[in-house]
Symmetry: C2
Subunit: 407 residues, 2 copies
C-alpha cells in the first residue's frame, strides 16, 4: 500500500471547474438557476438524431460506425465543414480540418502543442474559464490581451521573457464571449492580427458561439481576415476551434479545429497518440443532421434565445439598482453583470442560494489574474420568461440590500 503516488508538477495547476462543481448543487428544484451555460434541451433536434442513428445502424455504414477509424475524423463531415467554413468566410480544404471531441478537446490539444512551462498565453480579461482550465496543465503564464493599441508588442514579449518563456499564442472568442456575451468589432479583430503579427504568434479563435447571433450583421472571423492578409490558410497564423455543441448537441462531443496544414497534421498525430480518434457514429449522425437542416435548427434556437435575452435585459432594466451595469449581447447565452466596487459575487452567491434561491456564476474564475470579484455571469439559455422576471427581481433585491450595507 501507499499513501500517495508521486505525480507530475503540472497537477498543481489542475483544479475542478467551479461551474461544474456548482452545477452539481443546482439540481434542487427550488432554485432558479442562471448558472449553467448549456443549450436548452427542448431545442435539440432529437427526432433528426433518432432517425440519423437509425439510418446509420441499418445502412451500409453500420459496420464502419463501430470500427476503428482515421484520427482526422469522418470524411463527409469534414467536407461539410469545408463548405461551412467557406460560408463564414474561411476558404480551406479537407486537409485543414481535424475533428475533435468537442472544441474543448481542441483547446487542450492546442495547449499541448504550443505551451512549454512558463510560456505566456495571451487571453482576454475575462476569458472562457474552460480554456484557462485546458491550458493550465501545460503551466503557462497569462498576460492580458488589450486591443486598444495602447501597449506595444515589445512590452508583451519582454514580460514573457522575464517570466521564463515566450509568448506562444493569443486565445480569444470573437463572437458572444462566454462569459460576457460581447463581440469583437472588425477593428478589434484587425488589431488582434496586428499584434499577433508583431509578436509572430498564433491566434486561437474560439468560435463556439459563432452561430448564435440574434441581431446585427455577422463580422468575419479573425481567421478569415488573416487569410485575406496572407493569401492562403496554409500561411495563416489563426487557428479556429468550432463545435456543434451549441447548435445541435453537446453530448455527442463533436467539434473541430480548422487551420494551416502543418498544424492540423500535428494535431492529427497528437490525436492518434492521445485517443486514436473521436467516436465515429457521433460524427456520422452529426453529419446527417447538419446536412439535412443545420440552418433551420440554428434559426429555431436563435428565435428562442433572442426572446430570452430580451426578457432578461428588460427584467434587468426593471429590477437592478443604480450602480449595477450589464452587457447587451447580440447573441450567445450570457449577460455579464458588474456590481459596484466592494461587492463580492462569490459571497453574494452563497447568500443568494440561501435567501433568494437564485443561482449565477461569480466572475472571478474567468479572470486569469483572479480579479473580477464584483462581476457575475447570467445565462438566459434555459430559462422561461417568468423565471427570468422572478429571478431578476430577487437578484435586484439582493444586490440592493448588499449595496446599502456597503455604506
Amino acid at each position: 500500500m501507499t499513501d500517495t503516488l508521486k505525480l507530475a508538477s503540472r497537477t498543481g495547476r489542475m483544479h475542478a471547474s467551479e461551474i461544474r462543481e456548482l452545477l452539481k448543487l443546482l439540481s434542487r428544484p427550488d432554485i432558479i438557476s442562471f448558472a449553467g451555460g448549456i443549450p436548452d434541451p427542448e431545442l435539440f433536434p432529437t427526432e433528426a438524431f433518432r432517425s440519423a442513428f437509425d439510418a446509420i445502424m441499418t445502412g451500409p455504414e453500420q459496420t464502419s460506425a463501430l470500427q476503428y477509424a482515421p484520427s482526422e475524423g469522418y470524411g463527409p463531415l469534414r467536407e461539410w465543414l469545408v463548405e461551412y467554413m467557406a460560408r463564414i468566410g474561411v476558404s480551406c480544404e479537407l486537409e485543414n480540418i481535424v475533428m475533435m471531441s468537442g472544441s474543448q478537446q481542441g483547446l487542450d490539444y492546442l495547449g499541448k502543442l504550443f505551451l512549454n512551462p512558463n510560456d505566456t498565453a495571451l487571453v482576454t480579461w475575462p476569458a472562457y474559464m474552460g480554456a484557462l482550465l485546458a491550458f493550465n496543465p501545460y503551466e503557462p503564464n497569462y498576460d492580458r490581451i488589450t486591443l486598444m493599441g495602447n501597449r506595444p508588442a515589445s512590452d508583451f514579449s519582454a514580460r514573457a521573457e522575464a517570466a521564463g518563456g515566450e509568448v506562444k499564442f493569443a486565445y480569444l472568442s470573437s463572437d458572444f464571449l462566454n462569459p460576457t456575451g460581447e463581440t469583437l468589432t472588425l477593428a478589434q479583430r484587425n488589431r488582434m492580427l496586428d499584434l499577433a503579427e508583431q509578436l509572430d504568434i498564433a491566434v486561437i479563435e474560439d468560435g463556439a458561439y459563432q452561430e448564435l447571433r440574434f441581431d446585427g450583421d455577422a463580422i468575419a472571423p479573425i481567421q478569415a481576415l488573416d487569410i485575406e492578409r496572407c493569401g492562403n490558410i496554409n500561411q495563416a497564423r489563426t487557428i479556429y476551434c468550432g463545435t456543434f455543441s451549441k447548435t445541435l448537441s453537446p453530448g455527442l462531443r463533436v467539434g473541430w479545429v480548422c487551420g494551416r496544414r502543418d498544424i492540423i497534421n500535428r494535431l492529427v498525430i497528437m490525436k492518434q497518440a492521445a485517443d486514436l480518434h473521436s467516436a465515429t457514429i457521433n460524427q456520422m449522425a452529426t453529419y446527417q443532421v447538419a446536412r439535412a437542416g443545420f440552418d433551420a435548427q440554428v434559426a429555431k434556437a436563435n428565435a428562442v434565445y433572442r426572446h430570452r435575452r430580451d426578457c432578461m435585459l428588460a427584467a434587468l432594466d426593471k429590477h437592478m439598482p443604480a450602480g449595477v451595469t450589464w452587457t447587451r449581447p447580440e447573441g450567445g447565452m450570457f449577460v455579464w453583470v458588474t456590481l459596484p466596487d466592494g461587492l463580492d459575487a462569490a459571497e453574494l452567491l452563497a447568500r443568494s442560494l440561501e435567501t433568494e434561491k437564485v443561482a449565477f456564476v461569480p466572475g472571478r474564475p474567468f479572470f486569469a489574474d483572479g480579479s473580477g470579484e464584483n462581476s457575475l455571469r447570467l445565462s438566459f439559455s434555459c430559462m422561461k420568461d417568468d423565471q427570468i422576471e422572478e429571478g431578476m427581481m430577487r437578484l435586484g433585491r439582493l444586490f440592493r440590500t448588499a449595496k446599502s450595507a456597503l455604506k
Copy 2:
C-alpha cells in the same frame, strides 16, 4: 503570414504511429495483411447496437443522451463495470471508475498525471506501441521492466536520477500483450508488485486484451493481487485501464480507468478540463449491449479468434524455416515472430509488400530503445484460414531466401 509557428518542446517527441501510417497503404485488395490489430468487424454485435441506439433515442434518456453530462461518465455503465471488475477479482466502488474515450485516452491522461520531463517510465521490451506514443509527449525516459528479480530496485532509481528525474510508474499488459501475445505468470505479477513497492511507484496495468482468453485459466490482474496485499483499492498502487474496443466495438471509443479514489478524482478533474466528458450515447449503448450479452459476445469472438490462432500456429510450424521462432499465445490477437540475428523486419516488409504481397508490422517501434529489428508482429484477428495458410507460406519463402542471403 508566417512560415512556422513556435511550438512546445514536447512536439519533438510526437511522431505518427508507424502502424497507422502503414494501414493506410493496406487497403490494396491484393495484399494479405497481418498488420492491423483490429477486431473482425463481422463479429461486432451490430444488431444489438442498432437496437440499443434505437431504444435510447426513443426512450426516456433521449434528451440526456444529447446533453452535457458529468465528466466521470454514465452511471449505469460505471455500475456495470464495478460488477465486472469484481468478476475479474478487483473489488471496487463507483468512485473508483472513470469512463474514458477508449483505454488509449486513459494512457494519455495517466502520462499527463504522472510524468515530468525526464522522469522515468518502466515498460516492457517490447511494449504496446500506442502506450509509448501516448507517454512520449510528456517527455519521459524509459527503462526496462525485468521480472526475473535480477536487478535491484536501487538500480532503477539510480538510473532515473541520473537521467534527471524519478521513476514514476511501471506500465505493462498482464494478458496477451500487444505485440507478443504473451501473458505474465502469477509469479511475474507478484514480482512486478514487489518491485513497485520497493520503488514506491504506481503500476499501470493495461487490460485491453483481458477478455480474449482462448485456453488456460485466467490469472488475477495485478490490481487484484495489489488489493489482496494492501486490503483496499483506495490504498492500492495499481491503476487498471480497460476498454470495450476488443469485445464490443472500438469505434464507439468507450474505455475506463479503475483505481484508487484520489487518482480517479484527479482524472475526472483532468477530463473536465480536457474534453468535458466522453460522448454519452456511446456509453449508454455500450451499457445496453454489455448488460444484455457481454459474455455471449466474448465467447463468440473467442471461438473465432481461437480457431484463427490455431491456423496461424499450424501454418507457422509448416512453413517457417529453421532459426525463426514465435510465441504461442493463449489469447489476444497476435503472434510475435523472431527472425535470425542480422535480418531486419522493416527491410523485409518492404520486400514482402513488393514480391509476396503480405503485410505485417516490424517489431522495432514496440521497443522503447529502438531495438528489436529482427522481430515482427502478426495479427490473426481478421484473417480467414486460407489467407493465413497462404500468407505464412509466402512469408516462410521470403524469410528462407533472406536467411540464405545472410551467409
